[in-house]
């Protein structure tokens, strides 16, 4: 009697626990599906919000870090100018997704359509969103168009490896219009196209005389260590000196916050000239590249984000060709 009642209570307990287990696992399953959906939806959202620069100009400020799966390649600044007849876009971000999200944001906040897109240079964080603007004229200098034609797809492939899913469906889409240096009028704005070089073989700065905003592209980095993968430092320093002559009210750098003074220009110039002198003197002393990588960096550059990482990348990119020249 006692035993059988015990048994039946065991059985009941068993059934109770199995039911509870079943319910919890169902709940967990539902929650995880819900979660999955949430993650999926948020995973590819750059959460772009533009900040105003004076009147009628806006900028999407990117991260000052390096490409990662976390930031989805959103490490550069893309900007737009609202004119009477439509919107001018300067740089399109790092992926098709970025381009689409940027376009949606611009069109929904301004209620205007996009009349012109510019690419400041051929680096992937600045032009891979072009695909979202296929129905608009995408303009750039001949040298930049050539560079995108020849290297765009390789840069795109490389970015797939660095940031993953964010890149899905992205292909390199070249500019459709070649512009020449000088003044043009778009939507009532006097836009000056300035052809420079040094960050790459062909860099374009844009100066809007109507608003006084200077779009420097990657010729200027602000509080972020300059990237020198395709740099010619002497030419770059010359380009910065040319930009310093302009009487701008706002400066939009390729990376980092907007400024109104010369601070960011001086900072970029200072780092680049230091880098060049340091590597040249390392060569003069007979240092191997692995020793150049380990050199101490001056305290004054601490304001530059990812200093050590980008310095090392810079040494790896610049030292071998400097060595070749030195030994010829």
């Amino acid at each position: 009697m006692n035993i059988s009642s015990n048994l039946s209570s065991y059985r009941q307990m068993h059934i109770y626990y199995i039911r509870r287990l079943f319910k919890t696992s169902l709940l967990v399953l539902v929650l995880s599906l819900f979660n999955l959906q949430l993650i999926n939806a948020s995973e590819l959202d750059y959460k772009l919000v533009a900040e105003p620069v004076g009147k009628g100009t806006y900028v999407f400020i990117g991260s000052t870090k390096y490409f990662s799966k976390k930031n989805g390649g959103n490490i550069a600044n893309a900007a737009y100018v609202v004119t009477n007849s439509g919107v001018i876009v300067i740089d399109t971000g790092s992926s098709y997704q970025y381009g689409k999200q940027m376009r949606k944001y611009i069109e929904s906040t301004t209620g205007l359509s996009i009349i012109k897109v510019f690419n400041t240079h051929h680096h992937p964080d600045h032009f891979l969103g072009n695909q979202a603007f296929k129905d608009v004229s995408i303009a750039s200098l001949q040298g930049i168009v050539n560079a995108i034609d020849s290297q765009g797809e390789a840069l795109n492939t490389n970015l797939y490896a660095l940031v993953g899913d964010w890149m899905k469906e992205t292909v390199a889409y070249s500019p459709t219009e070649v512009v020449t240096p000088g003044k043009i009028t778009i939507g009532g704005h006097d836009i000056e196209i300035i052809a420079l070089d040094g960050h790459t073989d062909s860099d374009m700065a844009i100066y809007d005389h109507t608003t006084g905003v200077l779009f420097a592209g990657d010729l200027i980095f602000h509080d972020r260590t300059p990237a020198v993968a395709n740099a010619n430092i002497q030419n770059w320093l010359n380009s910065i000196r040319q930009l310093q002559e302009l009487d701008y009210t706002y400066l939009i750098a390729g990376h980092g916050p907007v400024t109104t003074d010369q601070h960011a220009m001086i900072q970029t110039h200072d780092y680049l000239s230091w880098l060049h002198e340091t590597l040249q003197s390392a060569l003069d002393k007979g240092l191997d590249i692995s020793e150049a990588l380990e050199l101490e960096l001056p305290k004054r550059f601490q304001a530059l984000d990812i200093l050590h990482e980008e310095y090392k990348r810079g040494v790896l990119q610049l030292y071998p060709s400097m060595e070749q020249a030195y030994f010829e």
Partner: protein, 272 residues
Amino acid sequence: MANSTLLKKHSMIKQIMSLKTGIKFILSLWLLTMAHLTYSQPLVDPLDSPSWNLVHKLILSNETVIFDDRVKVVVPDMAEDPMNVPVSVNVDGIGEIEEIRLFADLNPIKEILNFHPGKIEPFIAFRFKVQNSTPVRAAARTKDGVWHVGGSWLDATGGGCTAPSLGRALDNWVDTLGDVKSRLWSRADRPDRLRFRIMHPMDTGLAPGIPEFYIETLELKDKHGELIAHIESYQPVSENPFFSVDLDSKLFQGIVLSGRDNNGNLINQVLQ
């Protein structure tokens, strides 16, 4: 009565005996364990590589190894250019080094270079090709035959070993094959620095349709032909290799670099 005392005595002796053997047994067991712990404890690879046992066997013939921080291997965290990854090895404070072997556990060709420092410093720096993320190690052999191993992980997205050399794209690489450029820096506070570059495609044989073609031996000799140091290099050493070594230049008047690639082409150059 007498019988029982005898019995007692006997059992006491037996007990003592068994106690003695027991202690002996335990002692010997303890000794054995200690010996085991000291001599045959499995080495714990500080880099936690899946291939440590394999490279220990393939490259160091399972000879005695110590993981040693005094063997300093410097590689960047990330191979920015997988065809040109800088590496330097410096061995300091272990005594005389007979040979340094450089290898990468997970590279398709694991051997990179063997350096016999001879009469110069146990330091060498150059660049090499990497296919994927891998530990990069140096094993330095002291006179007692023990390999002192140091190293670090290198992160790479890959492709350095299966790509053709860049020179292959130019049609004039044959004209400069084996050409050497060099320079010596006299330094007051530390050993002098010798850097030399040799023009050579250093093809791995892993790029489709391009057989392996690489420098196998390099020797530094003084003007009397006496050996100063020598290198055995393998396919992963970068194209147009650039070497840095340290030495006391006062000891040698005129250094000659000679070498040979796997096709029998000779290298011969007086270094300055």
